[in-house]
């Protein structure tokens, strides 16, 4: 038996004239959920997005399914369709959020004000190592997604190009020739993508030991000792 009950639904006979009043959030997806919840509320828009991001990271786009989302949030699928129009809707939001320039910790690390031309590299390596604001898993998941879907591919390409361009500028600041700055930017960035694409299991301690050698090899400059100390600071970068 495919369905549990086959008895006719009385609602179908005495049906209301009008139903399905449009949820304003659906058409204004950027509107945040108000602080005071009203009615029979169990989830927020942000929770759905967070869970979707979680499913994306752990199983790829194909794993972001409405029934899994609702199961994990312990509500029925009906809840999903209150906040979002269809499956594609939440995928679009995830993508837009990730590819937004101002949400890119790596780009921000490179673009800040610099006391010395090596500063952007210090910040860049620090963020990669600490994995606080930067999530390599999300980055990797987006990249995987882009492999087979056009929209995601374009977003990933844009993000990558922005970062590589920022790296190239940073290498120019170290007085490398234009050609070498370009190649070094790509080697540094490609290396990092590859590093996370393979899942290298290393403790943070191990990575800090390798750091000076990597830094020297990838930038051509020695990493000053005092920079290493920054990694133990307790900020949220």
């Amino acid at each position: 038996m495919l369905y549990k009950t086959m008895k006719p639904n009385p609602a179908k006979i005495n049906s209301q004239k009008k139903a399905n009043i449009k949820n304003p959030n659906k058409t204004t997806p950027n509107k945040t959920t108000p602080n005071k919840t009203r009615g029979n509320t169990k989830t927020s828009r942000a929770q759905w997005l967070a869970e979707a991001r979680n499913l994306l990271i752990h199983g790829g786009v194909e794993n972001v399914k409405i029934d899994r989302l609702s199961k994990n949030l312990k509500v029925s699928r009906g809840g999903y369709y209150w906040f979002f129009q269809n499956r594609q809707h939440i995928l679009d939001l995830l993508l837009a959020d990730w590819s937004d320039e101002k949400n890119d910790p790596l780009l921000n690390a490179l673009n800040g004000q610099n006391a010395t031309p090596l500063e952007p590299f210090f910040r860049f390596f620090t963020r990669l190592l600490r994995e606080r604001s930067y999530s390599p898993k999300l980055d990797s998941a987006m990249r995987d997604w882009g492999r087979h879907y056009k929209d995601a591919a374009e977003a990933v390409e844009q993000v990558d190009n922005r970062r590589i361009e920022a790296l190239r500028i940073a290498f120019l600041g170290l007085d490398y020739s234009p050609a070498e700055a370009f190649i070094r930017a790509r080697i540094l960035y490609f290396h990092q993508i590859g590093y996370y694409s393979m899942k290298v299991i290393e403790t943070e301690t191990q990575r800090q030991q390798y750091l000076p050698i990597y830094f020297k090899q990838l930038t051509g400059f020695d990493l000053p000792d005092e920079i290493l100390d920054r990694l133990y600071e307790n900020d949220t970068n």
Copy 2:
């Protein structure tokens, strides 16, 4: 209506005593299809595998579905179950084939006999650039697969470790210190993975222009001019 016909199947009443004689190929998956085909033959085992590899490359593991395979091969799904036990079966075969050491062109490039210690690097770079025996798309697809499935993850890790170890040995041949050989091996390999993980659109000509700079940066040695000529040779490496 869920199914087109609901009339009882007469075959169910006058059913044969025995059916479903096990296909010997199913239990001996490595057996090749014989040259002379018998009976109502339209596809070979190899064709199914090739199409599965194609679907894997173009849509990921989740895209390798029996009904899509059979649709593309223009036969019914019944054909699939003659050659393979279930969906997992063909996935296992794809994985085993790819992760087989002797099918790895990159590893073979590094492990051959060398006139000079730079030889393995020449061969390595040549194979990457030419993309004849080495398929970066398949490699990338396997890596994506490994991100979410344990068996594939283990296979990918094994392949990666073998290649990085071979690169490390090659760098030791260039008289780098053990620590630097290790880091250089990883930078070279991670870079390559990252390069293909992003889909950088470049013509073969562009890549050949960059090659000397990449080579110098990644190995620490100049690329001799005569090596570039090899890339125009018409062998199948």
